[in-house]
Subunit: 249 residues, 3 copies
């Protein structure tokens, strides 16, 4: 299918757009941007901002990408298929994102960080440089991942968030902390120490209050974590099938 570039959009002749790509009004796409097939870029975006800090001059999106309005991406980053963003996201240089990444409205990704597959960030999440996020992670609104142990300094130690972990709204993760696989950080928690796999951390400062499997689902009254026991919307069929085998209902 032919592309559908709004007449007011400014698309560099050195950008490479796949088949069936839609670009909204007043959007600017610079040199070195590559967008896969069947993608949509909303209005008022700027993609491929040049930067001397970037490791490359390219910015690569897979197929089935949806970038909502007023978003800004710098060069140097690369994303798998199915990236979905909210409005007004900022993604700086050298970010690597796996398939199915979701970046919510107003998220601020500082660059030089990695996201695994099907990571979902809701609104207004701040990811400091050098953060490393695994697969199937959830990060809820206004969470901040930091990296400087004694600000301001030249020392940057990113956080690590392992697969299936969930960090609830307004929490802050201090530099270098590791959130274990399947762990749950409660709302408004200040995470100062590593959180072991499948445990719950809550409070200011955060403390370990036991295993996640003691939490019961408010409707079914069954064990609620690991959350893939009951929440499977928006994941590919083959992943859902795996989870169904792991936790048969």
């Amino acid at each position: 299918m032919p592309n559908n570039i709004h007449v007011s959009a400014i698309v560099s002749p050195n950008a490479v757009l796949g088949a069936n790509v839609e670009v909204g009004p007043f959007t600017v796409i610079h040199d070195g941007v590559k967008i896969g097939d069947d993608s949509v870029v909303g209005s008022h975006c700027e993609l491929g901002c040049p930067s001397r800090l970037a490791g490359s001059d390219t910015l690569v999106f897979g197929s089935n990408t949806l970038i909502r309005s007023h978003s800004v991406f710098y060069v140097g980053s690369k994303f798998g298929d199915g990236l979905v963003t909210g409005h007004r996201v900022t993604v700086r240089e050298d970010t690597v994102g796996g398939e199915g990444l979701q970046i919510g409205t107003l998220c601020d990704i500082q660059g030089h960080c990695e996201f695994g597959e099907y990571v979902k960030m809701q609104s207004n999440v701040f990811i400091g440089k050098k953060s490393k996020i695994g697969d199937y992670v959830w990060i809820f609104p206004y969470v901040v991942l930091t990296n400087d142990p004694h600000p301001p300094s030249e020392v940057l130690i990113g956080c690590v968030v392992e697969d299936y972990a969930a960090i609830a709204t307004k929490s802050v993760v201090l530099p270098g902390v590791r959130i274990g696989k399947g762990a749950l950080v409660g709302a408004m928690t200040l995470v100062k120490e590593d959180v072991p796999q499948d445990t719950i951390c809550v409070g200011v400062p955060g403390s370990n209050v036991g295993p996640t499997d003691r939490i019961r689902h408010s409707v079914t009254k069954e064990k609620c974590y690991p959350w893939r026991r009951h929440f499977r919307r928006g994941y590919p069929n083959e992943i859902v099938e795996e989870w169904e085998k792991e936790f048969p209902s």
Copy 2:
């Protein structure tokens, strides 16, 4: 008076603009948008974003509406007269707002929620889906109203904020919590339980520290709450007269 649409704005012929409506540069107004008389839409906005999630194909604003620059509204919502927004607000589908609603800069309204009359939100407030806000409520910067008791899940239980309540900066209200009429939530509070009418909740986790009427005004030394005792700027005359009768000076 004639309308004043900037030459660079893109306004659908299927949008209906009242008399004396101003639309700023680089703003996009889609099908189904209706704006009442004497209104202003700033630059770089997008109004009426189409959505399959919306309950209708229309987006309706009353008269005397002021939408500041870079704001985004989806279809499905309806607002009374006198809506005022800051810059870069996001308002998703099926939001219902009463007269005199104020939505501060960077607010993120997730949709499927209700606001009464003269609700005032300052900057960067996040309202989760299914929230219900009464009349004359104040919500201060970076407050988050949540809805998922065990994230991620399919269970969404919105918060309820009753008339005249005030929620101070950076507080988080957990799913399904009810903030009572005239209650005060202090800054950086994690509200886990219902807050009774005219009481104060502070802390992480929040606890009840007594009635609001023990707080004295820093200048007049008189009782400070209910705040309508002393704060009446920006409300219509007939409301102010009512409050003057209730609390004669």
Copy 3:
């Protein structure tokens, strides 16, 4: 050198641009804006929004200014040379900023406030009206400086942040509080009382946990504060030389 105004930008003939100024696509520059030499204004900005609340009809930027995309500045403010902003900053009326001011992505400066020289704010900082910030101050992501002691009210008492102080991520400073020279506020702290010079305040509510000089640098193991002992990137040579004399290595 000639100026480089993108053909789609809308620049008032009553704006005064110095030599070698670049203005990006879809940016609007109103009457009364003055921009010094060798400056860059990104795409989708709006500079010089008119306002009846402003003390003047002008908005003045020094030379070597960099304003990133989607930013909004009202009239009435004045900045020294070398202002750098992130994306989507909002700066309201009557803000005064010294040389080398840095305003991070999504910052929301409410106006009627003052910043000294080389103040650095990272992303998403909220500065309430009447705040007064000294020189060489650092304010980290999502910090909020408040001003209303019993919201909502007509009483606005701004915070004061003295030279060299650092306020870590997610902290809230309550109205009228003074953060002393060189003080350190830890992450997610609710600062309710004045913080003495060169001391550390942490917790909700914040409490004094001793002098800053007890903190050791994670790599060098030397005293870490005052931070100008070891962090000097981005400051002018003459300032760095002063700091080298003060803390010889």
